[in-house]
Symmetry: C2
Subunit: 387 residues, 2 copies
């Protein structure tokens, strides 16, 4: 199979974009990525759009054709596909694009992720989130997404003595990082006291342990490594693209403190890239809740299982630490418009590897990783990139 | 790229399956396909699930992981992806599976399509259908899906003198075919008088010009042509798999009497297969409305543009005619559970090419075609198969 590279990325502001529509932000991200790549729309062979739930958020399906059309590409009659795996829909769009280019099926493909969450009431948005887990066995019993992550947190606390303070530290770190990210939803530092003093959503998770509701879109232009040089002097190479699944419901898992989908996807990704976790310089991981970041950095092999809390407490995941995690601010502070997140993480790593991340730059970052999950880990997708 | 074959198919009964859930029917179709292929679940590398709108029909997203889990595959941690392109989601699942196997990314993949439409009220279902076209420019003005196809019908009548009687003949033919299909939703013959006398839904389309609301699922097992022989003596080869898009809204099209997405996808498919329309022995085309079948058989090159009505009137598309269209009964009479349809069409063609279609068998069928569209033709996907 052919080697694949990313030659352009683009992301909208994340947040409450009440003056913009779903299609507006999808097109904005796409055009930014096209401009960044220095290509013309005519060069595009196919489009993969990651989106979790536009059917309910904005009563619109057929997202691939919609985005292609409103991006002015309808005259090209390109293949336009929407992919969905809950909150992992963004990374799934990139994975699909990578697969289609690696295979030789297409030469130049755009992968986009988009979600418009603020056009519905908050209680509807909360209910929509639970569509990513098991509606008939979890949601129907009253489980919300925070409550399911709270169960994981409780198990992690019991088994590994992880503390609320350690989880709060994830939020504190990611909010600091977001102050340097002009596109982030929450660009203000918060204290551990503020996290621990914020209202309890689902014990032990406080409001500030949780990512918020946001609108946003992000896009990436993917082509072969060979043609990439034609467009840019700094292509970012996709060394691995791996996807794995697990039970959609939490009660069927063998262990609440680990996500097997992440473990399997990571193992596959490290094999594909022929790299070890210690060789990763910077990573964007799925911190929809603070406990999710701790579980992720363990499952990805950056720290021993159970050591995520201590490592975070010690500052090992800060900018300047052993392995900077979520320099963008993560889902927690950059914002989490479901389907957009997976591509937004990729855009961050591309900027990091290009050395264009400004005040949140990880010095000399050469190898980056992204990790995006759906639901409570029913899907996990891991990408590894090099410059 | 590697040659790809289908080694197993399975389809549930189509209709109002009130005693079955979304996941029940998805798993039933999958298990039937697995049994038909003579494989074990452990052989499966990946799953592509086509579904249009489970988010609204059954308030469930993350469909790939859900199906994989309830099919008992969660322990394999396979890549499980949901794809969506409105009513073309089923064919999109097959296209994605074919691409992933042809490329060498995966070796054995299951493609499934599923939709559970009858768990909501009819008016909600009608509104859901319009999610496949442009919510902000069509649905919001009151356009329903039948009304948009009615506009195409009016244009076709004006430009090519197509008659209501010719459209009714599509329904009559497909209902006759469905009487021989044990899985069809409507297994009764109807007369042209009955069609023309049924209530007007959107002039000139009567109720019996329209496909109904249905539940159903269908699945196909895809592997390389090389390994196919290990499992079956009658693999069906995928000679072409082509996808194209167009404007999602009707008012932006250059011509209401043709669907450019179909024209482009068909052209690409014939090129891939190195075949001409005259070499197709049997086809399943997207007859969500009777006019859609007429437009399809013209756009696919079976008849000159504008000649579809006359050809149908003359019986050229009946079993025994020049080119039998929709021997299964089509979307009109076999039923149209949105995301399931594209795979169900494939299952029919596989049975036809195997010579297993019973009383609806097209004698000596060697080359078959499927055609599946999303919305009013915002997406079209064409597959060509040989035995």
């Amino acid at each position: 199979m052919r080697e694949v590279a990313i030659i352009g990325v683009g992301t909208t502001k994340f947040g409450e974009l009440w003056d913009r529509s779903f299609r507006d932000i999808a097109v904005e991200a796409g055009l930014k990525a096209i401009e960044d790549a220095g290509i013309s729309g005519d060069d595009i062979d196919a489009l993969y759009g990651g989106n979790m739930s536009a059917g309910r958020f904005v009563e619109q399906e057929h997202i691939g054709a919609l985005i292609s059309d409103y991006a002015g590409l309808s005259g090209l009659h390109i293949a336009a596909t929407r992919v969905e795996a809950g909150c992992a829909s963004g990374a799934l769009a990139l994975h699909s694009a990578v697969l289609s280019v690696a295979s030789g099926w297409y030469d130049l493909v755009i992968a986009a992720g988009v979600e418009k969450m603020t056009d519905v009431d908050d209680d509807i948005a909360s209910d929509l989130l639970v569509s990513g887990v098991d509606r008939e066995w979890e949601a129907i019993c009253g489980a919300t997404l925070p409550s399911l992550f709270a169960l994981m947190a409780k198990a992690h606390m019991q088994k590994y003595h992880t503390t609320s303070e350690q989880m709060a530290k994830v939020a504190v770190k990611n909010h600091v990082n977001a102050t340097h990210n002009p596109l982030a939803q929450y660009r203000r530092a918060i204290s551990a006291e503020a996290v621990l003093g914020s209202p309890m959503v689902a014990d032990p998770l406080h409001m500030l342990d949780c990512s918020g509701i946001a609108d946003g879109a992000s896009a990436a232009v993917v082509c072969t490594a060979e043609t990439a040089k034609k467009y840019t002097e700094s292509p970012i190479y996709v060394k691995a693209s791996a996807q794995a699944s697990d039970t959609i419901s939490l009660h069927d898992r063998r262990d609440l403190t680990t996500m097997d989908a992440t473990v399997f996807a990571a193992k596959k990704a490290y094999q594909m890239a022929a790299l070890e976790p210690t060789q990763i310089d910077v990573a964007e991981v799925h911190d929809s809740y603070t406990i999710a970041e701790l579980i992720a950095i363990e499952d990805l092999g950056f720290f021993e299982k159970g050591a995520g809390g201590t490592a975070t407490e010690e500052g090992q995941t800060e900018l300047g630490g052993k392995i900077p995690i979520n320099p963008s601010g993560g889902l927690k502070a950059c914002g989490h418009p479901l389907g957009a997140t997976g591509i937004r993480q990729v855009a961050e790593i591309v900027q990091q590897l290009r050395g264009e991340a400004g005040k949140r730059q990880v010095p000399n970052a050469e190898v980056g990783l992204t990790h995006n999950i759906g639901g409570t880990g029913g899907t996990a997708i891991v990408h590894i990139f090099t410059r």
